[in-house]
Symmetry: D2
Subunit: 334 residues, 4 copies
């Protein structure tokens, strides 16, 4: 950590600060320049309150030199993490094609969609059983029953299942789920993250609507620091002034996350745009931009879907899209 | 709900849509204009998926006429809600002065601060026992022990206590707390909101960093629809491109929320700015702008505070500020 | 335009409003529902002040049914516009590869870069002669001399030139330029747009940092309404809370603009990201997402570039990227 | 400027960088820590391209120690600037009450409003003659004729006039205007700023919708570096995701700007909110927050105003507001 002092600080105040920092067990390097003094702090500074030091009268600014995340830091893990879900691999050159309906509605619906997306090339099945809804009056999912229907679809197709968990108390119900998804609104539900860190199961962690990449990585760190290193990150759009779509898909997050971390990074164009006809171009863009996978909503009857029908592709649209995704993958990988 | 069709829609498709809407039990009014057709839907449209209707080929746009929130809607509750916490009243002309340290640290600390803020005019004591932290490596509060220390401070000063709850499973520990705070990161933790709706205790609900006013009201609706009508809203800054402070305090939310809802609205200038010397001007601004109260961090020794020291006022600074707040209140109320 | 009245509006006030609207020459359709009254305005409502009507006591909300842009509206121009610059075509299946240095520095520099990007497949040359700089103390371009150097590079390579104009008074200097660029900061310099509308020359109009798509189209409308229909739109990143790159590239703007307008839409990944190593993935993503072209900074010696060296590719990096762009184009077009 | 190198950089590359920096005439201080090397650059670093240095392979990050603005920097001008406009003073304890209609429409209108706001306590008259409009089809002001009407109103009331200039070529028309306003959309019209720097006349510089405080100060710097030191800054709302008002008024900018610069800072609650009934609470909030003045739209007949009627106060509303503003001023100044 680097502390830059203001111009013309009284010597006495400077010494007080240095003494205080030393008392915290840090080694201090002072560099007096013509215009400013720079203090370098050596040692474990991860618990030093940057904001507090920055707020002191004599301090101009503070800069952290080492990132506060370790478990998910590319610096310490130069090789891409490959997350294995049964036979499916994600990351390090392996591409996840996750598809399925927003909500699980009936056995017929989920099995039909599962078969269709598998035929199109999907390798994982998604479907919501517990649904976060802005309004208390909206349909909130079939819950435990939905999980059972997902397992039936898995049995019929062999596709591992990905589904969202919202509440620590529901964890036991998810024992036989293949990948647990943490939604954008729960990205900083720290108690939940910590509990998921105790499981032996991949976690799909979605970026919150207003969260920075560093915050996303710190949330991954919560899971990993608790013992579970199999985290998949997901960019799904951020909230900006731009008003023509539900969210602004921040695709440049993909290559930047690849620099910062060894974790796989997938993209959700369905929630980012909220409009079915915008999903194919954004899915292709994400693939060309280097994503490790796509999570896309597909419904056999979007007009009658109980939630988010507006953003669901029909199976035949997904099939067409998937074919192009695989072609783009070849170009990217070449 | 109003559905506006595109120009030159085939008569057959229009009739299909109308038939479909009628099948959902809605009464339909069709108004054919020279340039467009407008369809009015009468009945309970709160469960109609606006996005889906909007995504249909023949539809130009959809507009909801009635707000989806009812319990917290000013239209149905013209009089300001006055929330009572022991002898303290909040809203409807009654002003909450909530103050105290970010984190409860020791008995001496919390009692000293409580006495100081009471002497300055505070009528409620705040203090964090369970702390949400971005990093898994940061101090996360004294937890149950912190709650006990808050109760000691309450016993010594008579100030009711306000403190944050993050996890449904901790609710039993909060039985003897006067006001439960829901933090910005949990504003859309819907399961938590629903449980808090079953308590007979005021809830202080903070706006999320990237949440609209409507979303804030829908979260209040979750609590109220479950039976607990004593909700206090809190503006605490939103996330924008503006980078010179932690967040952008959105003070115009105060008069706008007062139009939309009868619930009290308070402001947290400490978390919004993150800088102690910005707290007094923003506290005065919030008061002049019509807030029903202020929640402000005060610490007897900010430099050694275990968290958020940078944004805490010293007791003597708070005293000076409180005196001005009361003067501004007089002008606003006159 | 649709005006939705509040619930229970006095009949007298409603009639006053209707009379006032009629006096403005509009035809009025009133639809009284059980819960609300909807007033449809027929006629030329483009000059009606929506905000004013919305602010009236008895009005709940107002909705514009027809867009306020006409010249650039896809509804009236179903076929893609193909902009021709000499032999080069942009839009309607024709792809623009615009490349060159941020600033024109020397004859050797601009000619070297021009030859290199042409060899890699570029079909237009960019280079800044007049540079907008945040600081009055920064290098602001070679100005008229820079334009002359660009013409030399054009003579040597045959590539048409694209360069930025900032000031109406400089228009005469740009007579022999092939495409005039309007930068993000000037997107709403309406006097400038109006003057450019009088030229017979394609205009490359960049989206402002905080401008909506509708505002971008209204700015195109300024140029087109003055007589110049050859406008090319450019997405170059918007300003959001996201802080790990210079701006947030809003790629979903590409397919959405293609719906709204017939004008070509290109993407500038260099300014959007500000980091050279992020340019290739974002250039590929933009291509896969359906952009009609790319404008990319290339410099033979980025480390010594007088401006924006950090975001410039080396010629060999551009060549590698261009090859992949052309492959992706084939997939997209297939 | 501080350059922080990555961990384990080869000695040879480090020496190359240092040699390159020295060649630019800078004095270099190297501080080798256990985990990183920090290079301090002493000398005039205002022209060093931070982004470029940061983009080098071996560099972790770069931090500017001294701000790039000088003329408007509080560090070099500890005392508040008092801008004098005739007998009226702004800043340093003097409060500007600027009021008037959005657009000048007729002599009767502007004179009536001018007399009314003067009676209420206004000390400057605003009124738009040249109006920036998003649509080419909207009313763009009376132009030169509007300026003449403003002068008539000034003659009748003695109030100095404030009005917006959009185009360098119109400067001669503004010779007899008292304060020239630069609108939000022109905040980075650098050629315009430079020309205004050559005038002997106060400039009211509005913050752009998506501009940081540093960028606002750099734009003030353009004017001041050209010789005109009489700049008044104006906060008028920024663009964020928050959608219930036109913009988000960023009131904390006021105390922060007061720290960074000695220039006066006023607030425009009319444009920030766009809703007349939100103007009074935000005007009071701005006053309590320490603003040096308010610029407020007042119209004698808002319903028939040619532009922005929705945000205009009636004279009697302004009078009531002004009385409260003066009371709040007393509390703030005490």
């Amino acid at each position: 950590m680097i502390v830059i002092l203001k111009h013309n600080v009284p010597q006495e105040k400077k010494e007080q600060l240095i003494a205080w920092l030393k008392k915290m067990g840090l080694t201090i390097h002072v560099s007096d320049g013509e215009y400013q003094t720079v203090i370098g702090l050596i040692g474990d500074t991860s618990w030093v309150d940057m904001d507090l030091v920055e707020s002191l009268d004599i301090v101009d600014s503070v800069k952290r030199v080492s990132e506060p995340f370790k478990c998910c830091n590319r610096k310490f893990h130069p090789d891409d993490l490959v997350v294995e879900v049964g036979d499916v691999k994600i990351g390090g050159g392996h591409f996840a094609m996750i598809a399925g309906p927003c909500s699980v509605e009936t056995e017929e619906q989920i099995v039909t969609v599962a078969k269709a997306v598998k035929a199109a090339g999907a390798n994982l099945l998604r479907g919501g059983a517990f649904k976060p809804r802005t309004s208390p009056y909206d349909f909130a999912g079939l819950k435990a029953e939905g999980l059972e229907l997902l397992k039936i679809a898995r049995a019929e197709t062999g596709l591992p299942i990905v589904t969202e968990l919202m509440n620590i108390m529901d964890i036991p119900l998810f024992e036989d789920v293949d990948v647990i998804q943490v939604g954008a609104r729960n990205m900083q539900n720290f108690d939940l993250l910590r509990e998921l860190g105790k499981l032996d199961k991949p976690i799909l962690l979605k970026r919150g609507l207003a969260n920075t990449l560093k915050e996303l990585l710190m949330s991954a760190e919560y899971i990993m620091a608790s013992g579970n290193e199999r985290v998949i990150l997901c960019e799904r759009g951020i909230r900006t002034f731009s008003d023509y779509m539900r969210n602004t898909l921040d695709l440049a997050a993909v290559p930047m996350l690849h620099e910062l971390t060894h974790l796989p990074v997938i993209v959700d164009p369905s929630h980012a745009t909220g409009i079915a006809r915008m999903v194919p171009p954004m899915a292709l863009a994400a693939t060309a931009g280097g994503a490790d996978g796509l999570i896309i909503e597909v419904h056999n009857d979007p007009v009658h879907a109980l939630c988010d029908g507006a953003q669901s592709l029909r199976p035949e649209e997904y099939e067409k899209l998937a074919a192009k995704v695989f072609e783009i993958r070849k170009v990217v990988a070449s």
